[in-house]
């Protein structure tokens, strides 16, 4: 079955290339992709998810401010009645060489379901999304 997912690059981040690749990869994988492009605010992710009845939000952050930009997204989703929505994050989530384990723990604590290190193959997330949404 075709899952609806919302995709976008969060915050003031303009890195557009990875977003296009993810859009392509997810569409190929059979998802119905609502792609918000770059410079997407948390509110826009939430609004798009409501309007499209999406089951997952896939957030990219490439420029290093991912932590600040992503904080509070889960809370906004809960407030908007999207308490069951799956949240995924990937890209270059933080600046520099923080061990990924630490980054992952932080994002999980912020309410993300899965977090991916730089350079993750989109295919990895496709498999995860299929698995996670199968039960919904």
């Amino acid at each position: 079955m075709s899952h609806t997912i919302v995709l976008g690059v969060i915050g003031a981040d303009v890195h557009a290339v990875g977003n296009k690749i993810l859009h392509y990869a997810y569409t190929q994988a059979g998802f119905f992709v609502v792609n918000l492009g770059v410079m997407v605010s948390q509110e826009e992710f939430v609004q798009a998810a409501i309007e499209s009845e999406a089951k997952a939000i896939v957030v990219s952050s490439l420029y290093g401010h991912g932590e600040i930009d992503c904080r509070g997204l889960r809370e906004k989703c809960i407030e908007a009645g999207l308490e069951n929505i799956k949240l995924y994050a990937g890209g270059n989530l933080v600046v520099g060489k923080t061990p990924f384990k630490e980054v992952e723990e932080k994002f999980i604590a912020m309410g993300f379901d899965r977090v991916y290190p730089p350079g993750t193959d989109p295919k990895t997330s496709v498999d995860d999304i299929n698995k996670d949404l199968a039960s919904l």
């Binding site: 003031a12 609004q47 409501i50 309007e51 499209s52």
Partner: protein, 461 residues
Amino acid sequence: MKPILCIDFGSTYTKVVGIDVDEPRILGRTQSFTTVKEDINIGLEKAIEKLATMTGISEWPVRYACSSAAGGLKMIAIGLVPQLTMEAAKRAALSAGAKILKTYSYELNESELEEIAKLKPDILLFTGGIDGGNQKVVLHNAHQLTKLTIRCPLVYAGNKAIRDQVKTILSEHDWKVHVADNVMPVLNELKIDSARALIRDIFLEHIVVAKGLSKVQSTIDNILMPTPSAVLLAAELLAYGHIGGKGIGELLIVDVGGATTDVHSVAEGHPTQSNVLMKGLSDLKIKRTVEGDLGARYSLPSLVEVVGIEGIAATIPTSVEVVHQILKDLEAHPESFVSEPGLLKTLDDVAAEIAVKESVTRHAGTLEVHYTPFGTIYQQTGKDLSHVHHVIGTGGPLIYHHNIRSALRAAQYDPKNPFSLKPTAPHYYLDKQYILAAMGLLSIHYPKQALTLMKEAIIEV
């Protein structure tokens, strides 16, 4: 000579413009009070009599009309997320020339249902969900609407996946459902043509009759559209022209009235600087916004609230107490009209200028700045009107304004508010003879003549 009569049944006045399309030229323009309660023909006949005195012509075999009488085309728009489908529904209704009574989002509750029943809309526009998107809330609202105590034509322009279901649910409860394309089929993409066309058809078939305006149908071909639609047609023709004549280019029309201020822009509105990314809902090339809190008379109290009574008093200039007193007097007699200089006239003028400034600021797009290590990046929401070269004023408070240029200049880009994308160096014009709506009507069959007449009659100030 080939005489044609264009009629605008307004809420207060019935305005008629006689045109000779052969030459072409405007033969004359008169008005009389609208008589919708008794028989709308009475007011029309009076206006035509006056026109006969003026022009010597009393036979008008060809007549076109538009109407905003009996409250105009009153609509309610229902969407899902306020910034998305609700906003899309609102824009669709506005561009169909409607007056929006109220908009609703998310799940409709019982008190909102009661409110809708009390507001008695002529048409209900029901949307929600992108195609393939939300079903839960939209179906909930369909079920809620079955409980509504009133019925009127309903246009469904939401998620197409549940179109048939919605139609069945509502039809089983005596709703007459008209189905249009989704106003937002893809996120942030407006697609209003189908809904707008349907609304217009319903206006022609039902609303004209329901409002008692049909009595006039025997004497005129038909009331073709709501007045704001006629103005939008005129605006489009004047800007872009047609095969037989070039338009003047992108433009902005500000129509200040007693109760509301309408702004129409005919412009692409794409970013005019580099480093600008578009954000949010796409915008319409031909866009209309209506500000219900900005008007020179009935909405004067709310307009005063926008800038503060001190600000108004200082501009006139007079004391706050005096302004209070005038406001009170006007509340009792909103129809008072003066053209002589004096306090009241000055207040009218100040109000018109504020209405222009505020309404154009709300209509125009905005920029948001983001400072990144890489440099400055801008995000644009709405239309960039900075390169629009023509600003046209219309409506009583502007037509009778003492310093029209100064009033219209309020529409201009303001360096103090650099992120509001208003025209930077436009020319200013006045629709002195109040003919825009008539020209919109004329343009349906005589675009060439309408364009020529507009270019002549709309004067630079």
